[in-house]
Symmetry: C2
Subunit: 132 residues, 2 copies
DNA sequence: TCATCGTATTAGAATAAGTCTAAAATTAGA
DNA sequence: TCTAATTTTAGACTTATTCTAATACGATGA
């Protein structure tokens, strides 16, 4: 459970009630919320927070390295508080997004990728969770 | 070089001048065009084609299995005529998108992913092309 | 305590991708 | 050729996101 105020101070961002509400939710969830979902949750703690402030805060957090954006479905960006390397699985039926631990897959370069300087990568898997 | 009219006939889609212009461009490029880029190119062959028709045709092609959508950058969907399995590399500096052949990478499941029925996957890599 | 100044927040306007709609145009078939 | 079905179109609409300009807040120094 990360303390929003401490995190904000460490990043030299002034802790305001609105930012605390955003950070407190987004850094302590295992979900991959959209901006709208963050807004909805942040309003439980700070009912007056505006959409613009949520976007401002999320973008600031991305810049400070507290969040990463993920492109997993058409139409919206998702904010991912899991900053360690990991892969993703998307359930096509429910839309649910799962983190897949980095060491569960091994990627080997069989053919040298000449001319490409890879700074990051991930595997994106789609399918469905097994019933039962 | 795929013949647009034959492809449309095979898919039981009526070949109209507008559709031919769209299909002819999008199935014969190695790029990963956005809808807007398809519109721009299709207008070279059929100057009157509308944005709506381009979207209609592209969506129809996706449904018929002639194209795949790819989520590679924020804000737009890209249409990919390469229907074989492959991975992607995105140059963060230029925005260029490259196909990476499927057999250049080997993905091994080290830890069994229990409960996930994976129907498709790909590796998405980001970085930059090496100068030189 | 109060005034001040920079920062933060806000509502709503603006933008951009994509979908929808209803009318007009085109095509296919009898 | 006539009719019905299909296709195309412009523009309205929706949704995610950014921008803007006015207001509110908060820390500081007198």
């Amino acid at each position: 459970m990360k303390d929003a105020i401490s995190v904000l101070r460490e990043c030299h961002i002034q802790p305001t009630p609105q930012r605390i509400a955003v950070v407190d939710y987004v850094l302590n969830t295992r979900a991959h919320p959209s901006a709208d979902e963050v807004l909805e949750h942040a309003r439980k703690k700070c009912p007056t927070v505006s959409r613009a402030t949520v976007y401002n805060t999320l973008n600031l957090m991305v810049k400070k390295g507290l969040l990463k954006t993920q492109l997993l479905k058409e139409g919206t960006v998702f904010f991912d508080p899991n900053m360690g390397k990991h892969h993703h699985f998307i359930d096509n039926e429910t839309g649910d997004i799962y983190d897949i631990p980095w060491d569960h897959l091994q990627i080997t370069e069989k053919e040298r990728l000449k001319g490409f300087e890879i700074s990051e990568y991930q595997v994106i898997m789609r399918g469905r969770r097994k019933k039962k």
